[in-house]
Amino acid sequence: MKSGNPETGGMVPCLLIGESAPHIHCGRTIRGLMLDIIIAMLPSAVLAIVYWGVDALRVMALAVAVAVLAEAACCRLMGRKSSIDDLNAVVVGLLVAFMLPAGVAWWAVVVGVGLSICLGKMVFGGIGANPVPAALVGYAAISVCWGIHVDPDTVQLATSWSDPLTKLKFFGAAGIEKFGYADLLFGRQIGGLGSANVGMILLGGLYLVARRTVRWQIPLAFLLGTAVVSGLFYMAAPETYAPPLFHLLTGGVMFAAFFIATDYACSPSRTAAMFLYGVLGGALVVLIRVYGMHVDGTAFAVLLASLVVPYCVLLRPKPFGVK
């Protein structure tokens, strides 16, 4: 629209933007949030390369490339504008990579990431519409279908480290005596190439909380859920069950608490609901570890917890002035 009349007030005509209010913005965008998440993953990614060398780099690079290409292809097929520049595909790719062991076969990465993007995200309409965390869809699919190919114990042979959760599962509390908490914290365990670096994940997670990229309630509640339920087991029979700190520092717990359970689309947004969801997810981890057939079970715990999210609308306050 042309505006400004040279005859009035001597203004030069100019094209004004006719956007709707508000005309100001806090400045944070999806891309900005995704960039934050990528930054938060960097420490663990670097440590993974230190520990596993080119193998880890290969998995991460492949995952990101597949994610971006799959998303671009889906957008094209769906006849819509490409959404890859919001960086969400990069994040999903990295999240899947972080859960896989460094020695995983290339085709498992391709299938896992491809499924995460196509079935986990795009079929529902893209970012924001997924009912469960997209990264879990691909990961769960490959670990159910080709479990042996993504199991850290079977693919990560050239190392003296072991998977503490496998030891716990098959040898009970006696099997985990040799693991020091410092070892676990620094990622001297096998597991997901990124998620096992528990200390670095915690560091990145705290960064996300400090930046308010994720809300603190969900990670806190998740970790509390794991700690309390595993604590109950431990108190009942310390010779059979692992102490709470062991559960917090192994498998994908720390990673899920900060990076997976906080997925915007499928986590609740009000405080009470966030706590409920977080505690439920954290508790399920321990229940699956104790009673389930999976050694870790974090991924499935988050998937199950996501199922309660639609009911969280029941936990909202009354709107202003509504009686």
């Binding site: 007030g9 030069v12 004004l16 709707s20 913005h25 806090c26 965008t29 999806i30």
Partner: protein, 394 residues
């Protein structure tokens, strides 16, 4: 400084924007022009009047009517117009009018104010309490401080007239400023001064009422903005028609004759808009973007601002990612994410029944924080409008 502070300090002495050569005086749809094209009009003569009410709109200066369009009259300032002479003319009638106004009450006073260009009819409706909302409407605005500190007489005259207009028994004055001096006047002793935490969105009428009465949407409580009080006061104090507005531009309080084009005001303040800029009328959170700089400023206008191109990420039709930020900031405790999604897909019934969109105060905060840059306030307004019309039909 506090985030979203509404406390602008004492403010400046309002700066008079010099009269432009051309005026564009706008009015509402139910108005009819009472002058003809090319007619010469005197300052303060009625240009148009409402059909059902006594309300009029007056010529800000002496001049010639150049154009009459739907909802607006353009005027060229008479080159020979001697402003001083205009002002000096008939001081007699003005002081008579002023005295007459002082004696009137209720509907009769509203009627008389209407003929002088102030719409005060709603204030005469039955009410138990009146809340004067004297908070700067939005962060960054300053005119409230200027009005309270430098135009106290006008504000007092407005508050006094308000007491005669409304049948209410209880009176509140909600502000962020030191308003003590204002109420030293015996005649205003019935106003209770309330000072909520001065941070946006406290300036929403519904929240000002809550701050004063402690209740959410109580019945029989009327909220009145300070700008309306100021306009009433300006007329009550002088006895002359309302032909000016007080407003702010870029952190400075100004006064300008109604009908002064936005272009002229911005130029006076050294703010030339460029291609791609947004010129926001009446607030960055809630106001509207002008598409035409020939918009003449109106009696109720309170602010003009320029947002330079590229300052903020552009609005897009992106889907909601569910980050929940809008839920955190909503003063009405709504779920703007869900309402906007429903509005997006035309599910207006749901907006009302499941998500109570009518409780939305239109503060614009959900749009301010939305990381997907969705046009949230637009969705809210659309949903309110559509669901209200559904209600009427059903």
């Amino acid at each position: 400084m506090q985030r979203f502070s509404l406390d602008s300090g004492p403010g400046n002495v309002p700066e008079q924007v010099p009269a432009p050569d051309e005026f564009i005086v706008s009015f509402e749809a139910d108005f009819v022009a009472c002058v003809a094209k090319k007619a010469r009009v005197e300052a303060g003569a009625a240009l148009a009047r409402a059909q059902e009410r006594s309300l009029r709109i007056h010529a800000p200066v002496a001049g010639v009517v150049t154009d009459i369009g739907p909802g607006r009259i353009c005027m060229a300032r008479a080159q020979d117009a001697d402003d001083a002479a205009d002002e000096a003319k008939a001081p007699q009638t003005a002081s008579e009018t002023k005295q007459a106004l002082d004696a009137l009450q209720g509907a009769a006073l509203a009627e008389a104010l209407g003929t002088l260009g102030v719409d005060a009819f709603a204030l005469t409706l039955p009410a138990k309490a009146v809340v004067v909302n004297a908070l700067n409407p939005e962060p960054g605005m300053v005119w409230v401080g200027s009005a309270l500190n430098h135009c106290a007489d006008t504000v007092r005259a407005g508050l006094r007239a308000l007491q005669r207009l409304s049948p209410a028994q209880t009176w509140y004055f909600v502000t962020a400023h030191e308003a003590g001096g204002l109420f030293e006047d015996e005649s205003l002793s019935r106003y209770a001064v309330v000072r909520p935490k001065p941070a946006y969105p406290a300036s929403m009428d519904a929240l000002a009422v809550k701050a004063a009465t402690g209740k959410e949407l109580p019945e029989g409580v009327l909220a009145v903005g300070l700008h309306d009080v100021f306009n009433i006061g300006a007329v009550a104090l002088t006895g002359t028609p309302l032909t000016e507005t007080i407003f702010d531009v870029a952190g400075k309080t100004c006064r300008a004759a109604i009908g002064t084009p936005a272009a002229h005001i911005l130029e006076h303040c050294g703010l030339q808009p460029q291609d791609g800029d947004i010129v926001a009328l009446n607030g960055l959170f809630r106001g509207r973007a002008l598409s035409d700089l020939r918009h003449g400023i109106g009696k109720a206008d309170i602010s003009l601002a320029v947002v330079r191109a590229g300052t903020y990420p552009p609005v897009s039709d992106a889907p909601c990612v569910g980050c929940g930020r809008c839920i955190d900031v909503c003063p009405a405790r709504l779920s703007p994410d869900m309402i906007s999604r429903c509005a997006e897909f035309g599910l207006f019934e749901k907006c009302r029944k499941s998500y109570y969109v009518e409780a939305c105060m239109e503060c614009g905060l959900c749009g301010f924080v939305c990381v997907a840059r969705r046009p949230m306030l637009q969705y809210m307004r659309l949903a309110k409008q559509e669901s209200a019309s559904l209600e009427v039909r059903s």
